[in-house]
C-alpha cells in the first residue's frame, strides 16, 4: 500500500509524460492551424505514414537512427506534396473547402497504411529501453525525462527559428496577413510549404516518441491519438502559439491521467471533453493566445 501523496505524484508524472508526447504532436499541428486557420484533419494521418515508414525500415534491419530520420523526412516531404496539391489550390476558397480536402488527405493516408501494413498493433522496438529512477515510492522513467526534454528542445528551437531567421519572420508575417506579407516581399508559397513540412516533421517526432513510449505502433496514433489530441491541446493552450500548444498538451495529459486515476477510466473521455467544453466557454482564446499586434 502506498501513501496518497506518492500516488498523486505518480499520477502527476504519468500525466506529464503523456502530455509531453501530445505536446510534440500539437506543436506541428498548431503551427499550421495558427497560420492558415485550417483545421488540419490530415495532420495525424500524415505523420502516421512517417512512423510506419520508420517501422518498415526498422523491420528491414536498417539502423534505428537512420530509420527514424527517414521517417521524419517522409513526414516533411509528404506534407510538402499535400500542401502543394490539396491545400494551395483551395487556399483562398474560404475555410470549409481546405478542411474538406484535409479530411480527404487523411483518408488517403489512412488507407495507404491499411493497404501496406494493416491496422493491427505491431511491436515497435528500437532497442532504447529507459531505466527507472526511484524517488521514495515514485518512479520516473528516464525515457519520460527524455521525451519531456525533446519536447522543450523542439519548442525552443522553433521559437528561435521563428524569431531569428528571415524565413521565420516571414512565417510570422504570413500568420498576420498573407496579402501584406506578399506585398512586403515574403515568398508566400515557399514559406507556407516550409510551415507544412516542419509541421509534418514535428508530428513524426511526436508519433515516433509515442511508439517508443508504448513499445507499439498502430493506425490509431494518427487520428484518435494524434489529430484529435493535438486539436484539443491547441484549444486549451491557444491557437497559433507554440507555448500554448505545449502547455495545452501537458494540461490535457494531466487531465486524462488525473481523471483516470481519481474518477473513472470508464468515463475518462466524456469527462475530459466536458472539461474542454467548460474551458472553451470560460477562456475561448486559450491559455496563451498568439500575440498579434493589433492594427490601428
Amino acid at each position: 500500500m502506498e501513501s496518497g501523496a506518492n500516488m498523486f505524484l505518480q499520477h502527476l508524472i504519468n500525466g506529464l509524460s503523456i502530455g509531453s508526447i501530445y505536446a510534440l504532436i500539437a506543436m506541428g499541428y498548431n503551427m499550421v492551424y495558427g497560420i492558415l486557420e485550417l483545421l488540419n484533419f490530415a495532420h495525424g494521418d500524415v505523420y502516421a505514414v512517417g512512423c510506419f515508414a520508420a517501422l518498415g525500415l526498422l523491420t528491414m534491419g536498417v539502423h534505428p537512427a537512420l530509420a527514424l530520420l527517414a521517417g521524419i523526412i517522409v513526414g516533411f516531404v509528404i506534407n510538402l506534396f499535400v500542401e502543394k496539391f490539396a491545400y494551395r489550390p483551395v487556399r483562398y476558397s474560404g475555410r470549409v473547402t481546405p478542411t474538406i480536402t484535409a479530411v480527404g488527405i487523411a483518408y488517403i493516408m489512412r488507407n495507404a497504411i491499411l493497404k501496406i501494413w494493416g491496422p493491427e498493433t505491431f511491436a515497435f522496438d528500437i532497442g532504447v529501453r529507459g531505466s527507472n529512477l526511484q524517488f521514495g515510492g515514485i518512479i520516473i522513467g528516464t525515457l519520460q525525462i527524455y521525451i519531456l526534454l525533446i519536447a522543450v528542445a523542439c519548442m525552443v528551437g522553433i521559437t528561435l527559428y521563428l524569431k531569428k531567421t528571415k524565413t521565420g519572420q516571414g512565417i510570422i508575417a504570413i500568420s498576420q496577413s498573407i496579402p501584406t506579407a506578399a506585398l512586403m516581399g515574403v515568398p508566400v508559397n515557399r514559406t507556407i510549404s516550409i510551415v507544412y513540412g516542419i509541421g509534418g516533421a514535428l508530428g513524426v517526432i511526436g508519433g515516433i516518441l509515442f511508439c517508443i513510449y508504448y513499445d507499439s505502433i498502430f493506425i490509431g496514433i494518427g487520428f484518435a491519438l494524434g489529430t484529435i489530441k493535438a486539436w484539443m491541446a491547441s484549444i486549451i493552450g491557444g491557437v497559433g502559439s507554440l507555448k500554448g500548444a505545449v502547455m495545452g498538451a501537458i494540461m490535457l495529459g494531466l487531465m486524462e491521467s488525473m481523471v483516470s486515476g481519481y474518477v473513472s477510466t470508464l468515463y475518462k473521455d466524456a469527462i475530459v471533453w466536458l472539461l474542454l467544453i467548460a474551458f472553451v466557454l470560460i477562456k475561448p482564446q486559450g491559455l496563451f493566445p498568439a500575440q498579434v499586434a493589433e492594427k490601428i
Binding site: 502506498e2 500516488m7 527507472n132 508504448y214 513499445d215 507499439s216 490509431g220 483516470s260
Partner: protein, 375 residues
C-alpha cells in the same frame, strides 16, 4: 450478323450459368466471417487458417459424400455495424450453407437477426458472452464455453491457485468485456475475496494504462484480472513492469494468443490465462493437429484456429449424418450427438451452448505458452 452475335453471347451465358449452378451443387460452400483487420485480426486470421486446414484435408480425401468444400472469407472488422453489413450481403447468397463466425460477441449480437432471417446456421468459434445463446436465435451455435464458465474459472484460478487476496479488474468496454465483468463481480465474492479496484479501457483506442497501474498499485492489488484483448493485456503488462508493479496478471481466452508475447515481450512472462484450447496439448490427435497447423502457418494454433478446424469437421459429421441444407443442418446440430474434436467434446444443448466442455490453463514461460498445472 449482330443478331447472331447476340444469340451466341446468350448461348454462352446460359451455358456458363448452367455450368456454375451444376458446379455449386457439387460443392458445399460456407463463409468464414471474423476480424481480418484490426486489433483482433490475429484471431480472424487463425479462423481462416483453421478452416483452410480442415477443408484441405477433407477435400484431399474426396470431400464430404463426394462434394468438395469451398469457402469465402468476409471481414467484420470486429465492429458490430460492419458485421451487419457483411450479413446483409452474404445472406442473399443462396450458395452459403453455413457461417463460421463471428469472432466477437458484439458482432454476433448485431448480425444474428440478419442471418436468422435467411435461415443460415451460424457457428461461432469464440463468442463467449453468456447472453448470446439466450436471445432466442434458432440458428446459433458456439463451440466454446461461455464466459459464465470461463470467467468463473479465471476467478477460481486467481484466488485458489495464484493465492490472490486483493484482486483488481480491468475489462474492455464492449459486450464481450462487460459480459465477463458481470460474471467476475458475482464469482469473486463467492470465493471469499472482494475486488479492490475496477477499471475499463476502450479496445483499439486506449494505449495508456499507467493511470490504472498506478491506481492498482496504490490500492495494493496483488492480482489483476484482465478481461479483454491481447493487445490491451500486453500493453498493461509492459506499463506495469515499467512502474515496478508486480501483481499477477490472469486473463481469459482472448489474451492467450501468440501476439500477446510478440507485443508484450518479457513483461508478459508469468501471465496466466484460461483458454479452451491448449497449444501444448500432447495427446496424439491434438499434437498431430498442432504440428500440421504450425508447419503451414508458422505459429501454433490458439483456440480460434482449433475451433474453426473443429467446426468444419463438425459440419462434415452432420452432413454425413444426413444434413442436406441449412434447415436440416440446424436440426442435425441440435440432435444431441457428441462430436469429438481437437478442442474436446462438442455437444450442443437446446440453446446452442457446449456446457460440458473443459477449459485449459496456460502461462507464458521463456517466451512461449506452456501448460499450467492447476491444483
Amino acid at each position: 450478323m449482330n443478331k447472331k452475335f447476340v444469340s451466341l453471347v446468350l448461348l454462352i451465358a446460359v451455358a456458363l450459368f448452367g455450368v456454375s449452378t451444376a458446379f455449386a451443387a457439387d460443392t458445399i460452400h460456407f463463409a468464414v466471417v471474423g476480424p481480418m483487420t484490426g486489433d483482433s485480426a490475429g484471431q480472424g486470421i487463425q479462423m481462416k487458417a483453421g478452416a483452410q486446414l480442415a477443408v484441405d484435408e477433407i477435400n484431399a480425401k474426396g470431400g464430404i459424400n463426394g462434394k468438395k468444400l469451398t469457402f469465402e472469407v468476409a471481414d467484420d472488422m470486429a465492429t458490430p455495424n460492419q458485421a451487419v453489413i457483411v450479413a446483409q450481403k452474404l445472406s442473399l447468397d443462396k450458395k452459403i450453407m453455413f457461417v463460421l463466425g463471428h469472432n466477437n460477441s458484439s458482432c454476433s449480437i448485431a448480425a444474428l437477426p440478419m442471418w436468422e432471417k435467411a435461415g443460415i446456421p451460424v457457428i461461432s468459434p469464440s463468442n463467449t458472452n453468456p447472453t448470446l445463446t439466450r436471445l432466442g436465435h434458432k440458428n446459433y451455435f458456439r463451440v466454446v464455453v461461455n464466459d459464465d464458465i470461463m470467467v468463473s474459472q479465471v476467478c477460481k484460478l486467481a484466488v485458489k491457485d495464484l493465492k490472490v487476496k486483493k484482486p483488481a479488474l480491468v475489462w474492455e468496454n464492449s459486450d464481450y468485456g462487460k459480459g465477463m465483468k458481470d460474471v467476475a463481480l458475482k464469482a469473486l465474492p463467492a470465493l471469499g475475496v472482494s475486488l479492490v479496484g475496477e477499471e475499463s479501457y476502450v479496445p483499439g483506442v486506449d494505449r495508456d494504462y499507467s493511470a490504472i497501474v498506478t491506481k492498482f498499485k496504490g490500492l495494493g492489488a496483488d492480482g489483476v484480472l484482465f478481461l479483454g484483448d491481447y493487445t490491451g493485456a500486453a500493453l498493461l503488462a509492459k506499463q506495469a513492469a515499467n512502474l515496478n508493479y508486480k501483481a499477477k496478471i490472469v486473463g481469459a481466452s482472448s489474451i492467450a494468443h501468440p501476439k500477446l508475447i510478440e507485443i508484450g515481450g518479457k513483461a508478459v512472462e508469468g501471465v496466466v490465462s484460461v483458454t479452451s484450447f491448449d497449444p501444448n496439448d500432447t495427446r496424439a490427435k491434438q499434437a498431430a493437429f498442432i504440428k500440421k497447423y504450425e508447419s503451414i502457418n508458422k505459429e501454433r494454433p490458439g483456440e480460434w484456429g482449433a475451433h474453426a478446424y473443429d467446426i468444419v469437421y463438425l459440419i462434415k459429421a452432420a452432413v454425413e449424418a444426413g444434413a442436406t441444407d441449412r434447415a436440416s443442418l440446424i436440426a442435425k446440430l441440435k440432435s444431441g450427438k457428441t462430436f469429438d474434436g481437437v478442442t474436446g467434446n462438442i455437444k450442443f444443448d437446446q440453446f446452442g451452448d457446449v456446457p460440458d466442455k473443459k477449459a485449459f490453463v496456460i502461462t507464458v514461460k521463456n517466451g512461449n505458452f506452456v501448460s499450467y498445472k492447476t491444483k
